[in-house]
């Protein structure tokens, strides 16, 4: 099989992994030798017509897999075409692409061949050769197999900027049904071990600037949405648990899509794409806006509203919190106003020390007046009435949101 056909198959198999981030790692350059640099901010070197950024060479080492996770296109029982790269091929491909400035680095994942350790060894070997033999200073993200031995995971963290283990489904009963080989307990144990090493590295780094790094860009995970009955509340609670306990940098959400000749344990239809989008918004609110899961998706309404964004939905449920005075309210309160993002909140805080904000100023800040005005007071505006005057939720627009994703799995190459 030619390199070109392998690349087609193994890129196809990797594309349903949502992550392509190359940010948040330590700063490096190649002035002392080797090749590559990282600045801390990621760079998207291209964009595909699906609107996604191409930052890393995102491929599987192989899509052969001995496991049979029902939602995955690479599962043992799937009829998909298989291929396998050699370690050498991945190393050269990464360097060839990097030297031409196509990519920031490599995101390597793999189906499980022979056994978890064997697979993990090959994945780690790619990273080791890049770092040691070629002095590669670019970004490396490795997907980690929770069943692999701790020594291998430790070595992976030694070479990689980021490690990830996909949780896939929010609860163990869901995993038991769809991915019988996966065990939440074991996944969490591995995440905990990775967190421990990252913490150790951070402490060491304070003492010795040349302490060997360990996954300086942290760890991330991905959850499939809509393959089981798990509610948004369950999914967000799991995310918030993982952020808190294992200090994950990111949780990615990926809308489930039915796959050809799928098992009858899977639903026939995918969830609306907008659900994935709402989960990302809610996730953002948890991490940067001081919201709790229970405020966004609680017992009475365990799923996010598809028609309005979660912050607006919260505001509509809590009219007593409004109006907020833009010229006086503290940061935490401003962050809860629909239509105000972190950046604009910080700008407002800087501006209002010198100048009382008016509606015109909000226009200059490109704040959406339609969203924001009903909830705020500025020098020349107060909302007439809170309650009846609140905007009716916009009708749920179908355009821009594909209700049905691809009929192949959204999850692939998840180790």
């Amino acid at each position: 099989m030619t390199l070109d056909s392998k690349l087609s198959i193994l890129a196809d198999a990797a594309k349903y992994d949502a992550s392509c981030a190359s940010s948040g790692t330590t700063k490096r350059n190649s002035r002392e030798g080797g090749i590559g640099s990282t600045t801390g901010a990621g760079i998207c070197h291209s964009y595909t017509p699906d609107g996604r950024c191409v930052s890393l060479l995102k491929i599987l080492l192989t899509n052969y897999c001995i496991y049979d996770c029902l939602y995955c296109i690479n599962r043992a029982s799937s009829g998909v075409q298989r291929a396998r790269f050699t370690v050498e091929e991945v190393v050269n491909l990464t360097l060839d692409f990097y030297r031409r400035n196509y990519i920031e680095g490599l995101f390597l994942s793999s189906g499980i061949i022979r056994n978890p350790d064997y697979t993990m060894e090959s994945v780690v070997e790619v990273a080791r050769r890049l770092r040691v033999d070629h002095g590669f200073r670019g970004y490396i993200h490795l997907k980690t197999i929770p069943e692999a031995s701790p020594a291998l995971i430790a070595e992976a963290g030694r070479w990689a900027d980021r490690l990830s283990i996909n949780v896939e489904l929010a609860t163990q009963p869901d995993l038991d049904r769809l991915a019988p080989e996966k065990n939440l307990q074991r996944i969490e144990t591995s995440m905990g071990a990775i967190k421990g090493r990252i913490d150790e590295f951070k402490t060491e780094r304070k003492k010795f600037s040349n302490a060997p790094p360990f996954a300086p860009a942290g760890q991330s995970t991905q959850m499939i949405v809509g393959a089981t009955g798990a509610t948004d509340s369950a999914i967000l609670n799991q995310a918030s648990h993982l952020y808190g306990k294992h200090r994950l940098r990111r949780v990615y959400y990926s809308a489930f899509s039915p796959i050809p000749d799928a098992s009858n344990k899977l639903p026939l239809a995918s969830p609306p794409m907008v659900r994935e989008h709402r989960l990302y918004q809610a996730d953002w609110l948890l991490r940067f806006y001081g919201f709790q899961v229970s405020e966004l998706a609680g017992e009475t309404a365990p799923n996010l509203d598809l028609a309005v964004d979660p912050k607006m939905a919260w505001a509509l449920r809590n009219p007593a919190e409004f109006p907020v005075n833009i010229n006086r309210a503290p940061r935490e309160t401003l962050l809860r106003v629909p239509g105000l993002g972190v950046r604009n909140v910080d700008r407002i805080l800087a501006i209002r020390r010198w100048h009382r904000l008016r509606v015109d100023d909000l226009v200059r800040l490109r704040v959406s007046l339609k969203k924001t005005l009903p909830f705020i007071e500025v020098a020349d505006h107060r909302p007439s009435l809170i309650g009846p005057a609140l905007p009716a939720p916009a009708p749920f627009k179908l355009k821009q949101m594909d209700l049905f994703g691809p009929p192949v799995s959204v999850a692939s190459g998840q180790l």
Partner: protein
């Protein structure tokens, strides 16, 4: 009023601004003019740390302002020098916090220019594509890039950090930067023809690009927001975009037909189809549509036709026998009747866009003839994305629904044409949406007097949208 002619560089502006400030010349009295010449824009190695020390003034200029000024100096707008000086003046004359007031008009303009420059710097880091050429000393990597602003100097150290072990040049129309493995050099801008041709690895890169793309999630606008079209000509992968888009609906239709979803695949195709921006690609995608079984027994897809700027769109039911053979809508007997009625109503068919709710001919054999059969709900809804995309391109002010199938697919409900004909309402598709009968229904009336009467009413209906 005095005119200050400065080299269009940060250093040039800075020394002039420093003098003007020492002399106490207010911004309103200076006219800033750019001197010609090809001086380097930023003298990276001789920059002094900050202005205040050198102007011997107790007033401090925040370092943030100098950083900002360095970047704004790389913007192409000739007004930048005057705005920078005005801001500097205000900062040193009682408004030290000026930069915090983002909504101030000067600050807002500076921030806007700064943002444009920073974005350009970022895009250069992203979109430079090296091609390897052989050179007496070994491999040399050469790229051609067209920056929006004068950022080559500003960005050079990024590329040195990243590719210090390589030898490379980045050519641009403004300035060129070279790294020979040890030192950095600049030279005047060159023409595109100086850039090297293909690099063999680009084929692999294109393979990667087309396979990492998910045809089921087309979002062209999101892509173009980050990768505007003017960058495309220098990106080897961008040449694939039109083909990827053209093939996407077909790839999805094929995936969907293999999938287990039996109900309503139309919505997902709708998103994809609605993103296909030009009519030719739309027509081409429709020509391979297999989203419902009707394609199997028909000769070809009969897509709409007419000017893309038409004010009026006519939507029928489906192509008939003649249309199926000729591949054009409304060319059979019903079409001829329609032409006549339109003329009588004072409408020129050549100025209308004419299409159908369903794009393939559905028929039953009767002897040697193919007899029209009404499309069912599933087929009508499978075909809906096509006419919706046509309407989204044409954006008519008038939409005429000919017959029940058209009216039902437009209004998404059961429409009794005889009861509702002749009503004009506003819909999302057109300000005036009219329901009337299908001309073929007139052909089926055998009594000549009744037929004539029905024809008159049809013409009357058509005049309602004039």
């Amino acid at each position: 009023m005095i005119t200050l002619t400065v080299p269009p560089t940060f250093a040039g502006w800075r020394s002039a601004a420093r003098k003007a400030l020492q002399e106490g010349i207010p911004p309103g009295e200076i006219l800033w003019e750019e001197a010609g010449g090809d001086a380097p824009l930023l003298d990276l190695f001789t920059l002094e740390p900050a202005l205040p020390a050198s102007i011997q003034s107790p007033v401090r200029v925040p370092p943030a302002f100098m950083e900002l000024a360095k970047r704004v100096a790389c913007h192409r707008a000739p007004t930048r020098w005057a705005i920078l000086y005005r801001a500097l003046w205000r900062i040193t004359h009682g408004e030290p916090h000026l930069l915090d007031v983002f909504v101030d008009s000067d600050v807002h303009q500076l921030m806007g220019m700064d943002k444009a420059v920073r974005r350009d710097v970022h895009k250069m880091r992203a979109f430079v594509r090296f091609r390897e050429v052989t050179h007496p000393e070994g491999v040399w990597s050469v790229a051609w890039f067209e920056p929006a602003h004068l950022i080559v100097e500003l960005n050079a150290s990024f590329f040195v950090d990243r590719f210090a072990g390589m030898r490379w040049s980045i050519l641009t129309p403004d300035r060129c930067v070279h790294w020979d493995g040890e030192s950095l050099g600049f030279s005047p801008g060159v023409d595109r023809s100086a850039a090297p041709g293909e690099d063999a690895v680009e084929d692999l890169w294109r393979t990667y690009y087309s396979h990492i793309f998910n045809p089921a999630r087309v979002k062209i606008h999101a892509m173009q927001a980050e990768m505007p079209k003017h960058y495309w000509k220098n990106l080897p992968e961008a040449a694939l975009i039109p083909d990827l888009l053209r093939a996407a609906p077909g790839r999805v239709a094929e995936m969907l037909s293999r999938s287990l979803i039996k109900s309503a695949p139309a919505e997902s195709r709708e998103t994809i189809i609605s993103e296909v921006a030009d009519w030719e690609s739309l027509k081409e995608s429709a020509s391979t549509c297999q989203a419902c079984p009707l394609y199997k027994n028909a000769t070809q897809t009969v897509f709409g036709e007419g000017p893309r700027s038409a004010r009026i769109v006519l939507l029928g039911e489906q192509p008939g026998d003649q249309e199926d053979i000729q591949g054009r809508p409304f060319v059979g007997p019903a079409g001829q009747l329609l032409d006549r009625a339109l003329t009588e109503a004072g409408i020129d068919r050549k100025e209308c866009y004419v299409t159908n709710s369903v794009k393939h001919f559905k028929w039953e054999p009767r002897g040697k003839r193919r007899i029209h059969e009404k499309p069912n709900k599933t087929e009508v809804s499978a075909c809906k994305p096509w006419w919706k995309a046509e309407l989204a391109l044409v954006r008519p002010s008038v939409l005429i629904c000919l017959g029940a199938t058209a009216a039902q697919t437009v209004f998404d409900r059961d429409v009794r044409v005889l009861a509702e004909r002749g009503t004009v309402v506003e819909t999302v598709h057109a300000a005036k949406t009219l329901i009337t009968v299908h001309p073929s229904s007139l052909l089926r009336i055998s009594d000549p007097e009744q037929r004539e009467h029905a024809y008159r009413r049809f013409v009357e209906d058509l005049t309602l949208v004039l």
